[in-house]
């Protein structure tokens, strides 16, 4: 569960980075194609980035509580536990859903105070009961917004792709990289003069751009699906502990591999 919460925070931070990159792409588009990009446009992106950042902070707070929760058995109550749970409460209350108007489920904020108390009293099952609705709501929030995250990433990749193609058309892309795969196995480096014919290389570059763009869109869709599955799994484990014998598994869900792969590519 700690890994799921950590990856959720990293995922939102990476998506915030995507928004920053989209701003840079719009600036480039303004220079290359003359498309206006003014202060109010920047403000629009700043709003979205801020909301994603809030979710990253929320995930960090969840990570703190989950970590404390995992160490309940045999541990002593500590200020860290209390602080982590209190931070979660603050973040949950202050967060505003993306898009505007789909508020964070009430269950999240309602459960927070009870969770703090139960964690401090080392009552794992009771704490799980209190967290049950909270984590179900967290999984619901992600599920509701997931297609919006996919859309943001798709927009990012297609905008980058269109600009990459425009730069290739203007012969502003170095062709050395395209020759590297053939020469690297033999320890050789390419030497292509700026006067070398661009035509064939332009087609090759566009093919590479097309393939990479499709791969990046697919990679994010796999990541967002994996994140959703991991959150549902976390919610299910808490629910099992709250209602039945205990937690069936405490390891990291397998679906997080795609999430971590996508995050690593953006880093």
């Amino acid at each position: 569960m700690t890994t799921t919460a950590k990856d959720l925070g990293d995922y939102y931070s990476a998506l915030t980075q995507v928004i920053d990159d989209i701003v840079k792409l719009n600036e480039l588009q303004s220079v290359v194609l003359g498309v206006p990009f003014i202060a109010s446009d920047r403000a629009q992106f700043a709003d979205t980035a801020q909301e994603l950042q809030k979710r990253a902070e929320l995930a960090r707070a969840v990570q703190g509580v989950v970590s404390a929760f995992s160490q309940l058995s045999g541990s002593n109550a500590s200020a860290d536990v209390s602080d982590a749970a209190a931070k979660l409460g603050q973040d949950l209350v202050s967060i505003r859903a993306l898009p505007t108007g789909s508020p964070v489920p009430d269950a999240i904020s309602q459960a927070e105070k009870l969770v703090v108390q139960l964690i401090q009293e080392h009552k794992e099952r009771d704490a799980a009961k209190a967290m049950d609705n909270t984590f179900a709501a967290l999984a619901d929030l992600y599920s509701e917004e997931r297609s919006t995250y996919d859309s943001i990433n798709r927009t990012y990749v297609i905008l980058a792709k269109s600009l990459a193609n425009a730069l290739v058309d203007r012969d502003m892309v170095d062709r050395i990289g395209l020759a590297a795969p053939a020469l690297q196995p033999f320890g050789l480096a390419p030497r292509i003069s700026s006067t070398a014919p661009a035509e064939g290389f332009q087609e090759l570059a566009k093919l590479q751009i097309n393939e990479q763009a499709a791969a990046q869109i697919t990679a994010h869709q796999k990541a967002s699906t994996g994140m959703q599955q991991a959150l549902l799994e976390m919610s299910k484990r808490i629910h099992l502990l709250a209602t039945k014998k205990g937690m069936s598994s405490r390891g990291a869900p397998l679906s997080l591999a795609d999430v971590e792969k996508w995050i690593a590519k953006l880093a």
């Binding site: 194609l33 629009q44 898009p99 297609s147 919006t148 859309s151 943001i152 798709r154």
Partner: protein
């Protein structure tokens, strides 16, 4: 993601993909300014909707989504041939106008 946001994304990304080619066919600065202005309007509609909630069950939104899809079909047919920049600008104007109405309806 609702159908409304999906429609706005489709229009915005269609224009993004074809922007360079559309600008290359422009014969004067007025045409270039018209294309970039319509493109910016489509981008703003899309990002406004990222920050709003769509009510897909709203009949007005459903009707606008239909209109936008029809406008996009005509736009695609027009830009494939790129026979006339004026025709392309006219179709883009229509699609962006419906997109703006759609963006204003949600939230």
């Amino acid at each position: 993601m609702g159908n409304g946001l999906q429609s706005l994304e489709t229009l915005y990304l269609f224009l993004t993909t074809n922007l360079s080619a559309l600008l290359a066919t422009c014969q004067n600065q007025d045409q270039r300014a018209a294309i970039t202005s319509l493109y910016v309007a489509s981008r703003r509609s899309y990002w406004n909707c990222i920050n709003k909630t769509f009510h897909d069950d709203d009949p007005a939104v459903a009707s606008l989504v239909s209109q936008l899809q029809a406008a996009q079909d005509r736009l695609q047919a027009t830009t494939q041939g790129l026979a006339s920049v004026a025709d392309a600008i006219s179709e883009i104007t229509e699609a962006v106008k419906v997109a703006a109405q759609l963006a204003a309806t949600v939230g």
